[in-house]
């Protein structure tokens, strides 16, 4: 059933865009950032406010959502996160989960607890038939945008100076510092970019995942599954894991609605039992 495959890929792509930033912080910087979903939510609300209140076109709101989440990420990284890099994981967890609760409460206070939707232009609504396969226009957009992001990320990481600095900083911080790489700056930029991507994902996903103040908690488990199944040493790992989970989740719920909700958890358990390092890890990092 190709429609199911299509929906699954769209869903998986969305998961990837939101969680790839988490793969970076968790895997590359070895920082447990449970507040990652909060940045996605902020990006979503940013787009919501722009489009619904100020009439900004939907496509223009996406880059703004990215920049907004990235800015907040940058500020948070410089002012708060930086103090926790060398603390234990438990402290990081407590700190970031606290951030989640605070953001949720703030959003609830200012924008209300209801689900919000971004007013989409009408040409993005509905779906069309493509050789018998029902294609949702909006989901098609998600796939295109996300595919673009994956390519750009891959290029930046593999073919730019910044990419090689980042990889160096991750592989061995001390040596990288010794070679004159400003590791702190590299991490800060990476962190901000990860938050920005989450924000972009949140804005794109508002239509499908539903935007509400409890968004970060509701989806935290999905982001963590993506990262733990995909491994964190590359972009390819989480990407394939997201697609696998997206298709698994959608197909499971379609073919066996009664057990559908368990499919992704089963995938996760099986993968983690067989490959505790994650599905697509090359060698060992940490």
């Amino acid at each position: 059933m190709l429609t199911i495959l299509f929906d699954g890929i769209a869903y998986g792509m969305l998961l990837f865009v939101i969680s790839c930033g988490l793969a970076v912080t968790l895997g590359l910087m070895n920082f447990v950032n449970l507040a990652h979903g909060a940045f996605a939510m902020l990006g979503g609300y940013c787009a919501y406010v722009l489009v619904n209140f100020y009439g900004v076109p939907f496509f223009a709101s996406l880059p703004v959502a990215f920049l907004f989440a990235a800015m907040i990420g940058l500020v948070a990284e410089r002012s708060l996160y930086v103090h926790f890099y060398n603390r234990s994981h438990l402290e990081q967890v407590l700190f970031t989960i606290g951030l989640v609760f605070m953001t949720s409460a703030l959003v609830d206070y200012f924008l209300g607890s209801q689900q919000r939707f971004i007013n989409l232009p009408s040409y993005l609504q509905g779906r069309f038939d493509f050789f018998g396969v029902g294609i949702g226009k909006y989901r098609l957009l998600i796939i295109l945008v996300c595919a673009l992001i994956v390519i750009v990320l891959q290029l930046i990481l593999g073919h730019t100076r910044f990419g090689s600095r980042l990889r160096a900083a991750v592989d061995d911080q001390r040596v990288a510092r010794g070679l004159g790489i400003n590791v702190n700056r590299v991490f800060a930029l990476t962190f901000a970019a990860g938050c920005g991507l989450a924000g972009l994902g949140g804005a794109l996903g508002a239509e499908i995942l539903s935007l509400e103040p409890h968004f970060p908690l509701k989806f935290m488990i999905y982001f963590l599954i993506v990262v733990s199944v995909g491994g964190t040493s590359s972009i390819t790992g989480p990407f394939l894991a997201s697609i696998l989970l997206g298709i698994g989740d959608v197909a499971g719920k379609y073919y066996a609605p009664r057990f559908g909700g368990f499919v992704i958890y089963t995938i996760m358990i099986v993968v983690l039992v067989l490959r505790p390092q994650g599905l697509f890890t090359r060698g060992t990092s940490k």
Binding site: D7, S113, R116, R127, P213, K218, K253, Y254, P257
Partner: protein
């Protein structure tokens, strides 16, 4: 210096109060426990506004007693509700506990009401079994079965032959599913499939695709208040509306408070429920206007009338007992009470302590740029069908 004289004045006042005759007005406290924060905060805000509105309109003195309202937030978590109920009863000495935004919250509190013999007014939660959990529970909201059975009747009469049901997998969802399925089958309808969706469900796409492929005449839906919007969006996105599958359900999915956020996707959805902001009675028009004046950011929904009528029930019961707050006497006074509510005529069933009311069939329409549930058919005096079936 100032402080000393202040203290002296305070002491003098205390003495004066202490020596006053016992005729000083006694206070009766009502504790409302409702989710004011968290995902179900809409319910709490509705409850709070409606309860305050009732007191504003009907005064704070009943049968010679002064009424004091205490509103506490349980954030929609059952462990909070039970703890707050105990605190209210033991520390604040409330004579009534009320509110209860979700079924588990009411269930967790039922034994506390029983032990303390304190009347417990359920103003929202809609699972049938709640009122059986304690002889001190009276409900002023609705039961899911009431709406589910009526929409099943309506569907069977209106050329809907094959239905797929889609409910959220928890107690109220099971109630909504069973009531509908039993009634619809007994009227000769066919249930193609019954889908249950996990409560933490981010994406309805796969379930709706399954519905689309099953090609029923209608899709019957029950999801927790608030999730209806995303479901409806995806229903339209997936083209179910164009393929001739009608969307029907209990009125929770087209909750008046959030209906406007659904966008035009919701137009044409048919539901059965006991209250609509657009209910065309004079009393309701006045109610809606007064409610919006008190809280301009809200539109009164079915949760609000649950609280408004709950307050009325408490006032009337106190009048009948002459202000006595004995739990058994109050419950006896509540049984069989009948009155006119903004939603229409309602009464408390003396046997089950559950509400008996008119259920309306409504269709979502756009009027003056806003979406409303417009009522077009009514079924009077509907009792809870789940309890009726047990007899």
């Amino acid at each position: 210096m100032l402080r000393k004289s202040f203290l002296a004045a305070l002491a003098a006042t205390a003495l004066a109060v202490g020596t006053l005759p016992a005729a000083a007005q006694e206070t009766v406290k009502i504790g409302i426990i409702t989710p004011l924060t968290g995902p179900f905060a809409s319910t709490g805000k509705q409850h709070e506004t409606a309860a305050r509105l009732y007191m504003q309109q009907h005064g704070t003195t009943v049968a010679g007693k002064k009424i004091e309202l205490i509103i506490r937030d349980d954030a929609g978590r059952a462990e909070n509700t039970a703890r707050i109920a105990s605190e209210l009863i033991q520390n604040d000495k409330v004579s009534f506990i009320a509110g209860f935004g979700l079924t588990p919250l009411a269930m967790a509190t039922a034994p506390i009401a029983t032990n303390a013999k304190v009347p417990m007014i359920v103003m929202m939660a809609g699972t049938s079994i709640i009122t059986e959990r304690s002889p001190y529970i009276v409900r002023t909201s609705f039961t899911l079965g009431q709406s589910a059975v009526i929409i099943a009747d309506w569907a069977a009469k209106n050329k809907v032959k094959k239905v797929v049901t889609l409910v959220t997998d928890y107690a109220p969802g099971h109630d909504a599913e069973k009531s509908f399925v039993d009634q619809f089958k007994s009227k000769g309808g066919e249930i193609v499939e019954s889908i249950r969706v996990p409560i933490q469900n981010p994406d309805y796409a796969p379930f709706l695709q399954r519905v689309l492929d099953a090609k029923p005449d209608a899709l019957y839906v029950f999801v927790p208040s608030g999730q209806g919007s995303i479901l409806m969006k995806q229903y339209v996105e997936r083209g179910l509306d164009k393929s001739g599958i009608r969307l029907i359900g209990t009125g929770d999915i087209t909750d008046d408070d959030i209906l406007n956020g659904f966008g035009d996707a919701a137009i044409g959805v048919i539901t059965a429920h006991m209250y609509s902001t657009a209910h065309p009675s004079a009393m309701n028009k006045e109610y809606v206007a007064a409610f919006k004046k008190l809280n301009p950011s809200l539109r009164p929904n079915f949760a609000s009338v649950g609280a408004y009528d709950g307050m009325h029930l408490i006032y009337e019961a106190l009048k009948k007992t002459n202000g006595k707050t004995d739990g058994d006497a109050l419950i006896a006074a509540m049984k069989g009470l009948k009155w006119e509510s903004p939603r229409g005529p309602i009464s408390i069933d003396p046997e089950t302590r559950d509400i008996v009311q008119t259920i309306y069939i409504r269709k979502v329409e756009k009027k003056d740029g806003e979406l409303y549930n417009v009522e077009f058919e009514s079924f009077p005096d509907v009792k809870d069908p789940v309890k009726a079936a047990k007899k």
